[in-house]
Amino acid sequence: MKLRNSILASAAAIVAGLSVCTIPAGTHAQDKTPIRVGLSIAQTGPLSGAGKSGLVALQLWRDDVNAGGGLLGRPVELVVYDDQSNPSMTPGVYSKLLDVDKVDLLVAPYATNPTAPIMPLVKQRDRLLIGNFALDVNAQIRHDKYFNNQPWASARDSAAPFLGLCRKLGAKTIAILAADAEFAQNLAGGVRAGLKEAGLEPVYDQNYPPNTVEFSSMIRAIRARNPDVVFVASYPSDSTAIIRSVNEIGIGGNVKLFGGGMVGLQYASIMQSLGSALNGVVNYNTWAPEKTMDFPGIRDFLARYQAKAKQANVDPLGFYLPPFDYAIGQILAQAVTATKSLDHKVLATYLREHEIKTIVGNIRYGPTGEWANPRIIYVQFRDIADKDLEQFRSAGKQVIVAPDAYKTGEIIAFDQARLQMSR
């Protein structure tokens, strides 16, 4: 009896084994183990304001995908670590994601500074990496499986519309003030590289250390040089302090264009707090509630994000990073679904050769893994009232002044804009 049972059991096992072998490649629907997407994203430290909102967006994407049956019939799981906004943390975190967590897919940390240190590791391990707002980190390394989701491809791309505005306003002199950190330096580098072409003479060009508290000394020094344009590349707390100082002690009557690369002026809490002090400032952005930015699905996403943002205690508007982080999920999903594969080489080939449909528009990738058609926008704050968050949901408050393809209004010179809006 025992012998018969064991023969039957062996036969059943062989049949089962054969049947597994005969499942055609690509139909791994029986495999219900989650597809693990690994990343670090700032949950603490200076980048966490945007990082936490980006994570909410990625979680929304995961929930949407899982509600639709997952990818390749498998649920999606996010493996997330807090890099504390600290670039020295990220190589260790990504080694752990690869070697211990053994994630299937990798998303880069939010922002340039934490992403740059992981590029050698990712290239050495030959893994696909979807970038998350990192500027120029692949320019030197040239990893062929890096695809950045950010609407500008290089520092020069980001500077071009700003320098175009300088020309339009007839500016001849420029002051540059930039934080001594990777992203700000990249942005300022883009402007510096284009000065000659734009016919601008630099009358002040300083980098300030990242722990600067008080900016009035530098604002005074800039005012003393009487520039036509002031380009600032700064991080959130610096941006707030700089705008405050400009408001308190003035920047001089000659300035036609002020702003450019100020991180933080895209966040709801900072916009709300600074209120009317923002009027006239021109700054880069990735999305604004203007008619030229109505990509399919983005309004629906923002409505769902904003409902979640309140309980997650994150940016209540979510214009800057969240749509792009949701789009990171869409990029991965389209590549995996179309190729029915998790092989990084196959996925990279697909992403290089195909257009990706996302809520931030259709994306095609160029040779260095950056957007082939970059689309950084410059907005001018207008008619901003104090203590009013709701105003930023409406069109006309962040008027897109460049590039022309997305423009919703003409640039007004900084001094005139402030004069008009103070009346």
């Binding site: 949950q43 603490t44 430290g45 200076p46 966490s48 304001g49 990082g51 936490k52 504390q84 906004s85 003030l177 001594d180 300083q206 980098n207 300030y208 250390p209 722990n211 600067t212 508290v213 008080e214 009035s216 000394s217 530098m218 005074r220 020094a221 003393a224 959130p236 707390s237 707030t240 302090a241 405050r244 100082s245 408001n247 308190e248 002690i249 003035g250 933080g264 966040y267 809490s269 900072i270 707090s273 002090a277 205690n313 994150v314 940016d315």
Partner: protein, 289 residues
């Protein structure tokens, strides 16, 4: 650089320096007088700033909020020191190093607690003196920095007076010099140190309110102030209140002049270079014994 700009830089530097002194004065007591490696001092400052922000939501002026929170911080300081003493200080000669780890842990807990309670976004407060300036001839001075100037003067003068003219104050100075001698006089050095640590922590409420008056705060901001506050306390000559004010002003003026003229990125190097220079000439610091 024109004389006019230099003058403006010096005035701005004095105001900035007073702010540095105000945020360092508690550390001068805790680290300078008590030898407690209070690396969590900046985290307590940020806690004070968030306290002012929270009470500001009820319409309270941030400075008044800082004053109202001072007793609460004083009591918290008593509790933290008691715990530190029982678990680290009383247990051996390597208390300093282990204490450093303890206070680092406290700083981390404060940061995470603030993140969980308030989120990671920057917070600011509103007051009549924020965002406005006062004209002094052609020079416009931010009112928030003038407030920092006034509070720094009151804090350092008040603490100096307390340490020199009250029995407990003199006992605090004595405990800094010789604990055993103080014990032989019948005073309990641990209780004196606990009281002094309470005062040091209490100043964080008011200085924290200044922090959020001067600039926006976020939970991790304390990390940026570790170097600067320790620099002021050491440059002052550990434990000297007038020295703290003088050191703050020297650093502030040096930083302001560098930011205005030579090259902003040199500001931290100049500040810490100044510290090294002073310590090379006067190892006890400017006002140290």
């Amino acid at each position: 650089m024109s004389f006019e700009l230099l003058g403006e830089a010096i005035i701005a530097g004095v105001l900035l320096g007073c702010f540095y002194a105000a945020v360092s004065v508690g550390l001068s007591v805790a680290f300078g007088l008590l030898d407690v490696p209070q690396i969590a001092h900046p985290a307590f400052l940020v806690l004070g700033a968030y306290g002012a922000y929270y009470l500001g939501g009820f319409g309270l002026d941030p400075l008044l909020a800082g004053v109202a929170l001072t007793p609460v911080f004083f009591l918290a300081g008593l509790a933290v020191y008691r715990f530190y003493h029982a678990t680290f200080e009383s247990r051996g000669t390597d208390a300093g190093l282990r204490g450093l780890a303890f206070f680092f842990g406290v700083a981390f807990i404060v940061e995470v607690a603030l993140i969980l309670s308030f989120g990671v976004d920057q917070r600011m407060v509103e007051a009549a003196y924020i965002g406005k300036s006062v004209s002094l001839g052609d020079v416009r001075l931010p009112m928030r920095m003038l407030v920092a100037f006034g509070v720094a003067l009151v804090l350092t003068a008040g603490l100096s007076l307390y340490l020199s003219s009250t029995f407990t104050g003199r006992a605090i100075k004595a405990v800094a010099q010789d604990q055993t001698a103080l014990a032989l006089m019948g005073a309990d050095p641990v209780r004196i140190k606990q009281w002094a640590f309470g005062i040091a922590t209490g100043t964080c409420a008011l200085a924290g309110a200044l922090l959020i008056i001067v600039a926006p705060v976020e939970p991790g901001l304390g990390r940026l102030y570790i170097g600067r506050t320790f620099c002021v306390a050491v440059l002052a000559g550990l434990g000297s209140m007038p020295g703290t004010l003088a050191a703050g002003i020297i650093l502030g003026v040096a930083e302001s002049i560098v930011l205005t003229s030579f090259g902003a990125s040199w500001a931290p190097a100049v500040a810490f270079g100044l510290l090294l220079l002073v310590l090379a000439i006067r190892p006890a610091g400017l006002f140290g014994r």
